[in-house]
Amino acid sequence: MELNFEAADIAFRDEVRDFFAGSIPEDWRTRVRAGLRLNPEELIHYQKMLAERGWGAPTWPVEYGGTGWSPVQQYIFWSEAARADAPAQFHQGLELIGPIIFTYGTPEQKDKYLPRIISADDWWCQGYSEPGAGSDLAALKTTAIKDGDHYVLNGQKMWTSYAHVASHVFVLARSSQEEKRQRGISLLLLDMESPGITVRKIPTMDEKYHTNDMFLDNVRVPVENLIGEEGRGWEYGKVLLDRERMVTASVAIFLKQTISAIRSAAARRVIGNVPLIEQPGFRGKLAQFEIEVMALQTMVLRLMADAANGAESGSRGSMVKLRWSQLTQEGTALWVEALGPEAMHFEAMEGEAAGLPSLPADMPYAMQGALYARVTSIYGGSSEIQHDIIARRAFGL
């Protein structure tokens, strides 16, 4: 058992810390702490900033433009990013389709797409879910019929997050009807400019524009945009299972930001003459939250250390996802609580009246973060599905 960072790791940490020092604008930091995604332009700006430094793809191998960092280095990188209130990188290109392309893609596909993911010249979104195929993805109905050197796609995708800003989308579609529902599904890369794609906003309860219905109406996709073999798209998703720990691990590390946000709100809010943060009841709740975050982050650290030592993560990626969504929900709710009744002031109706002190900068982001947090236990496999998966994988139940 050896839980101290080595000297090289500490040097690396200092390097990263230097890089982040002062690099994140204040108005980003407030929203980041709320667990809110920055606007696409801001995320693109951030990704370019990292790419310029050579750090655009922290989890990718060097040969594809990645950093080749060890898991412990990745942990350090994310910890420092979190510490600086930097955002998490937008993951659909970097963590979802990128790894599939560099694992199963043709040389042409790799050359064409990978560099532009890192440089943020392309923005990818995911076309998997459908109205009747949410948790049960294998029930998808979108068809891809071969017609010469094209596939023709028809169907409706749902929950295609950021389709309204994306340049590309990767789509699972049924290229043949087979007995076993998972067979006959192919994975295709689409340019969002392709004729026949319509995107319609799905309004969500946090009143932010994240996600969409995407209608595919005779969309023609060149056959060279097929990933791997026709009908085996379902399998390619599996590469993501092993990488899942990277996505969840990185976001879990960012919970430290929520802690700072709560602390700062609770220090500002005075009841009687005592700041909320000094009142035993609130202190106890905050301490409990911090302790649970510490437990989760040590889980992540252990996962990364085991990965560095070549051990399987087992179902621990799912466990981190589960606990992270619980904690992000609890943390944002605690932040709302710390802000007091004014946290409900979601939007000024007639602008700021002259002479009144403006609201603290973290309203209404705290509330928006708390609302957004509800979906974290739904997307990417709901908490119920995660439990099912762990029971099956880890216990054979």
């Binding site: 029930a139 969500t204 009143e207 609580e337 409900m344 979601f346 009144l356 236990s377 119920e384």
Partner: protein, 370 residues
């Protein structure tokens, strides 16, 4: 002993329920929420015509003198249909405060009952938490008139109010229970600045600043308004409890429906044991809320400490149950639950809003323990 509505109360519930179903169906609700002023005004006048706005106004002041059970019948149906108007602030809390029999109070009560005016209570300040006795706003007597100075940071349902009922200090120091008086201030009084905010649940709140505001009308006796304020707020809370019960039962019903009809993996998701147990826990939360909410409302506003303790206890538990039910309703609906298009997330947001209106869970737990 009977926890059920009597015949008249059931009729009242049914009529509000019909009103809600006709005017707040999913599509119409979005229009109303979008801030269609004419539409909202029309609804409000309909509510006045049906007599609901005067339910809590005493008969001697020209109202209906309804009981808290009558009030519950109305607000439960409003909760069920997510009627997002400032009914509780205007028609339950304000009348409980405007009880001194003065002409000034009676004029306002008249206008409340007829739907001509909305009233909100401005009690909370930046450093008051939810404690009603922490009043820093001052009302000093100058040339026979009161001059108000200070700020109220959150006025529940104050966004569309025509009058504000304001607690201000006429004596004592910041955290003393004596020395607090109650004032009536029209929204256009010189020296009053109003900042308005939309909340996540469609309610509209406000912040106020009093800058040497002159001519505020005192309601009731000087210095001893705190007990009146506390009992008034208790009634507002009592009405909100029933609203929360209506909302959580409705969203549970909708969720059960979803479990029975939505299919995944070739079968209704309601066949999964984990989801079955979850909806059972939601149902138990509803039962708890209805039981303690009704019980606490019996003596709400009575001048004894056990009545105050009961309402505090009910506020804690109903809020907890409501939040739980709202969260689980969203969760069991999956992505659909997170969308704004289904009514589910609207219930969740209202239950969230209700859980902090007139005091958070922690605040009331502490009050209970005192």
């Amino acid at each position: 002993m009977d926890f059920n509505y009597n015949e008249e109360q059931q009729m009242l519930f049914d009529s509000v329920d019909r009103f809600g179903q006709q005017r707040f169906s999913q599509d119409k609700r979005r229009q109303a929420l979008a801030g269609d002023i004419a539409l909202n005004q029309k609804h409000w006048h309909e509510m006045a015509e049906l007599g609901w706005l005067m339910i809590a106004i005493p008969e001697e002041a020209g109202g209906l003198g309804g009981s808290m059970a009558d009030v519950m019948a109305i607000t439960e149906a409003m909760g069920k249909n997510l009627v997002h108007y400032p009914f509780v602030a205007t028609s339950i809390l304000a009348p409980a405060l405007l009880c001194d029999g003065s002409d000034a109070a009676n004029v306002v009560l008249d206008k409340i009952g007829s739907g001509e005016a909305k009233v909100a209570a401005a009690f909370l300040e930046a450093n008051s938490g939810y404690d009603l006795y922490r009043v820093g706003t001052t009302a000093s007597s100058q040339d026979g008139a009161y001059v108000l100075s200070g700020e109220k940071c959150h006025v529940e349902d104050g966004g569309d109010a025509d009058w504000y009922l304001v607690s201000a200090r006429t004596g004592g120091s910041d955290d003393e229970v004596e020395g607090i008086s109650l004032f009536l201030v029209p929204k256009d009084a010189p020296g009053l600045t109003v900042e308005r905010f939309r909340s996540i649940d469609g309610h509209r709140h406000a912040r106020l600043r009093f800058d040497q505001l002159r001519g505020a009308q005192r309601i009731g006796e000087a210095d001893v308004a705190l007990p009146v304020i506390e009992r008034g707020v208790a009634k507002g809370i009592g009405a909100h409890l029933a609203e929360a019960i209506g909302s959580m039962e409705e969203v549970s019903r909708v969720t059960l429906e979803h479990l029975k009809t939505r299919e995944q993996f070739g079968r209704p998701i309601g066949s999964f044991q984990v989801l079955q147990h979850r909806i059972v826990d939601m149902k138990i939360a509803c039962e708890e809320a209805r039981s303690i909410g009704s019980f606490a409302n019996v003596h709400v506003g009575d001048e004894n400490s056990s009545a105050a303790q009961r309402i505090a206890a009910a506020k804690v538990r109903v809020s907890e149950c409501g939040i739980y039910v709202g969260k689980q309703a969203v969760q069991l609906h999956g992505g659909l639950g997170f969308s704004d298009e289904l009514i589910v997330s609207h219930h969740f947001k209202r239950l969230y809003g209700l859980s902090v209106a007139y005091g958070s869970i922690d605040h009331h737990r502490k009050r209970y323990a005192e």
